[in-house]
Symmetry: C7
Subunit: 94 residues, 7 copies
């Protein structure tokens, strides 16, 4: 069953890439259908983002290579969804 969603914690320099450049680089990875890049923190020299990626069959390594090729850095993978449909997390209640 394919990987359908990846959520990544990505940092980049304020200078480059621009957010549209990052989004386009991710889109060019085979299997990617849509990408959302949201800024969560702006520091003096770096920008912190949440990157959400969906597709029918995502390749996590190819996505990571494409991001790092732009000069941005993947700090961590925060969510992976796989299967025949996109399953949301059921949060713990305790």
């Amino acid at each position: 069953m394919p990987i359908r969603r990846l959520v990544l914690d990505v940092d980049m320099a304020v200078s480059e890439p621009s957010l549209p450049q990052l989004a386009r680089a991710i889109e060019d990875v085979p299997g990617v259908q849509a990408v959302n890049v949201t800024v969560t923190e702006i520091d003096v020299e770096t920008i912190g983002t949440d990157v959400t990626i969906e597709g029918d069959d995502l390749d996590p390594r190819a996505v990571q290579r494409a991001i790092e090729h732009t000069g941005a850095v993947v700090h961590s993978t925060d969510e992976v969804v796989a299967g025949t449909y996109t399953l949301e997390r059921t949060p713990r209640k305790r």
Copy 2:
């Protein structure tokens, strides 16, 4: 794949442009289908806004030029969505 949504942090002088003028200047950019300008802060001389723009194929540079042509200032790009559909951000849970 096209850019479908841009969220921008835009400041302007209290005197001009008016919010309707800003909205209309953005609408005139090719590819723009809808724009929402929301005031988030009113200071003595400046107004801070969240500008959300959607379209089938947005040109981030043309949007920025149109905004700055009105006298307003783009402080930062806060969200970019690209792909075959408009993907919402999945927020980090840690």
Copy 3:
């Protein structure tokens, strides 16, 4: 592309106009399809309201003139939506 929604910060005297009078005055402006007047503050002599107005092609100046003709005061425009559909704001995440 037309203006589809205006959100205004409107104050009025406790004595007049009444909220129904204000709503009807706004409705009479050409292009207005619906109006919501919600009280957010009641002081000794004045009432503060959020006025939401939707239509297919709103004229912000005509709306302002109609409101001020009733004796109420437009303090600020807080949101403008324009385009081929009514776009909600995507709030900033930082």
Copy 4:
């Protein structure tokens, strides 16, 4: 264009009218289609309520007279919606 919704701040004595009596008195006003009476405060002698009224063409004065005829008191009108559809308030973001 007709008035479609009224939200009123209504107080009554603990003794009378009962909530069903108040609801029925409002329903009997021409143009009223539905009414919700919700208790927001119970004091020693008085009950405070939010009264929401919807209809195709509400008459604010007739509604007020009907409420006061039961012995209850209208403190203020808190929301008026008018137009070709029932428009919800867009809250201010600053």
Copy 5:
């Protein structure tokens, strides 16, 4: 126009009735279509509940008699909805 919903603040002894007994007693009242009994407080000897009742034409007095016949006590009526449809409350914004 009929009463469509009643919300009651009902207390009962820990010993009896049981919640299913209370629910069934309310259901047996003519006009009742559905009932939700939710515990909001458990003390040493009493249980506090929110009782929500819906139907096409509720009789508030018959409902109260049925509840008190089980040994439970109606402290107050907290919401009444009447009309051609079930209208939710629009909460006050000030």
Copy 6:
């Protein structure tokens, strides 16, 4: 009219039953269509859970016997829904 939903506060030993065993024991009760067992507290020796059970015609006593047969303990019944449809609680606003 049948009982359609029961919400129970159920405790069990850390050792047994397992959550799947408890869920299956409840499912085997005639009339049960679906069950959700959610852990709300983990102590050294006991696990606290919210158990939600739905069906077309639930028998509260048979459900309780099935739960206690597994070695778990029903502390209280927290919600009962009965009638021709599953009615959610309307919470008190005061």
Copy 7:
């Protein structure tokens, strides 16, 4: 009636498995249709996750074996849903 959802509290070393490896190992268990692995905590050496698994007929032991085979550890089962449909928890109101 089958088990339709499992929510597990799973820890793993920062080094391995990767989140995609964990998701794929769970997917390979017969009966699994979709899996969501969400990181809830990152420490120096370990990563804490909420793992949500849905399927038509889940085998809790086979899922646990598959997870532990990757080197990750199942700390607890936090939710089990079984029956003819996927029932959400109704939270306690007291």
